[in-house]
Symmetry: C2
Subunit: 388 residues, 2 copies
């Protein structure tokens, strides 16, 4: 009973599929599949690409999602750095740029730079503004997702309630989606996992600590878009956090807290990256500090695991580059504190994607939206009239 | 582009809807809606019931979900008590029974009793076994949901890997679903909420402490069906838990722990219900103990709220009957520890459903499964041939 949009979902999940396999998978009549596939081909969503191995007679044609029928522009705007990419409709990066960019400079200069880099990326890949199917943007603060506006973001002065999408929507006439940096990172980690897990928690340990939750392929944003705020879960310490509370995880295990700890021990360290450089150079004080931070993060994660029983946990962010000492501390506490049933097959790993996860996730957020079956169905209906 | 099953979902969400409103809601052509509604009426899922107010001309006919076209049998098997119900296909209880029943007696006697009570309930409501469309059962332990079998349940000797559904499936030839007691309680609380929230966490504080998570109308079970295991999240205490770990929430705030605390203070209290009786009689020691337990539960919930940002939190279970002192302790800690954005519109309440939530949830679990759009579509296709 699948609609054209739902058939497209089936096709996207494969590297190429025959009409016969679609009949089997969908339970639809062959004539119905033929008609709906034709409408998907006419609309440019699907192409015939090569032939499947024959089981006798003429080899059947393979259908593939036409991921080259447009591009998506993606930006991951961090506190001090930004990464931009142009991707195809599979979320594959065609070209990207990274640069220092201060979010605290405010919306006008930051978004003007973003538009400029988007134009460069289109030029560099031989694409025109007409090829753009959507724009996805991540920012380091809480977002009212439906409105696409930051909501009292603590480290983004001037951005509160700013309509980030407007100038891109005016320019490209396409959907523009905005989410916070950790949610898009989580979506990118999910998308590039093989196989993709049914549930996943991504922890970003940079200056602060944030979390992204993927359930059944979707970001869980919560009632106010504030889900994943794991940096302010309480630990059993007395450290005062910049949020005004005492004992927040971020106040003892975030990159800023670790840098301060190293400075107190006499090291000349500016930020999270400085801490990681010390760890990678083998400095024992830094290794101990990061491992201890790992046990704190692990204590928080033990609770998350008991609550959500995720299939995969991924650690990303600057501090994640510290690698083993961090992971060892995290695992030690998780295995001590979570139930056996939840940890037996649990994967806990440091990301091998780094910053790429963010821009890919920003693109995938847009792709999921514009290829939503209901959106595809509406598009096809508007082209060919009602498809019963 | 909605299929018949998806149209049925739209109809179920209303108290009665016209074909015109379905055309508007679905975006389908009027002729398609007419055809699909006819197939739903032919299959018995939908009935014409009354007339909408006319806006001129002949008043249009209202379509309603035919919730009386069958019944569901539901059982909530607790550690020492059980509740059974027969419901219609809206989850409305037609009749119910509660009794003492020890889960530790093992599957044979407990399930024989369950079958006997199911037969009594069918008799009492004038239904026959042929009217049964599905069976839903909750048990107080971890469940492999796909298989419908308990998985090393700590307080259910003899139940490990037992195929609970088999005898009901053999008898009634219908789907039988089994889940743990807190998940069905959460689903029942969700179903009977008005309006139904997009996300909800239900905490059951009985002898132990468990949680059920509802996201987008579905129970979140996690990778191994072990989600919601909040009783073993760590608190900052040194109490040894029966799981072998130290500092578990359940070991300081569960009903068994509270009863022990009251006994140590010289009170003759057997269990959670005894503690609540003391609270309700105004005993200050019991009030203080329950309020303190509330702050412990609130501390755990503050983390859950930061992580998931749910719309509603409901407290149920024997200890929930203590009411205000418990809720005050919970709220005090939540508002202290969670971010303002997550708590501004958060509802935290004690259930007014009590034990009914479990059996209703067990029934709704089954109803959601048998009325899943894909299942309805397959049913209709098998009756009337391929519906394009």
């Amino acid at each position: 009973m699948e609609s054209p949009g739902q058939l497209l979902e089936l096709i996207r999940a494969t590297d190429g599929i025959t009409r016969s396999d679609l009949v089997d998978l969908s339970g639809l009549a062959r004539s119905t599949v033929t008609q709906r596939v034709d409408s998907l081909i006419d609309a440019g969503f699907v192409v015939e690409a090569g032939e499947a191995r024959s089981t006798g007679g003429r080899p059947p044609t393979l259908l593939r999602f036409n991921s080259e029928s447009g591009v998506v522009l993606a930006a991951d705007l961090g506190a001090t750095r930004a990464r931009f990419a142009v991707t195809d409709l599979d979320g594959s990066v065609l070209d990207e740029r990274a640069m220092d960019l201060l979010i605290a400079d405010g919306p006008d200069p930051v978004l003007a730079t973003t538009m400029k880099v988007f134009d460069e990326l289109l030029d560099a890949t031989g694409m025109s503004p007409n090829d753009v199917r959507g724009v996805g943007i991540g920012v380091p603060g809480p977002i009212d997702f439906a409105a696409g506006r930051p909501s009292d973001p603590p480290i983004m002065p001037g951005w509160h309630d700013y309509p980030i999408g407007d100038r891109f929507r005016d320019r490209f006439r396409v959907p523009v989606l905005v989410d916070n940096d950790v949610n898009i990172m989580a979506l990118g980690e999910f998308w590039l996992s093989d196989p993709r897990p049914t549930s996943m928690v991504v922890v970003k340990i940079g200056t602060g600590i944030g979390g992204g939750i993927i359930i059944d392929g979707h970001v869980h944003r919560g009632a106010k878009g504030a889900a994943g705020n794991i940096g302010h879960i309480q630990t059993d310490t007395e450290a005062v956090c910049n949020c005004g509370n005492v004992g927040c995880l971020e106040g003892v295990a975030g990159g800023a807290a670790l840098a301060e700890e190293m400075r107190a021990a006499g090291y000349d360290v500016e930020n999270a990256r400085g801490v990681v450089d010390l760890v990678l150079s083998g400095n024992p004080d830094a290794v101990v500090a990061v491992r201890k931070a790992g046990t704190r993060v692990g204590g928080m994660l033990a609770g998350v695991i008991n609550l959500l029983n995720p299939e995969v946990i991924v650690i990303n962010g600057d501090i994640a580059r510290a690698g083993q000492p961090l992971l060892a501390g995290i695992r030690e506490t998780i295995y001590h504190r979570s139930t056996a049933l939840t940890t037996n097959d649990l994967q806990v790993r440091v990301s091998d994607l780094g910053d790429t996860a963010g821009v890919v996730g920003a693109a995938v957020m847009v792709i999921d939206s514009i290829l939503d079956p209901a959106v595809v169905d509406a598009d096809i209906e508007s082209r060919v009239g009602a498809v019963a």
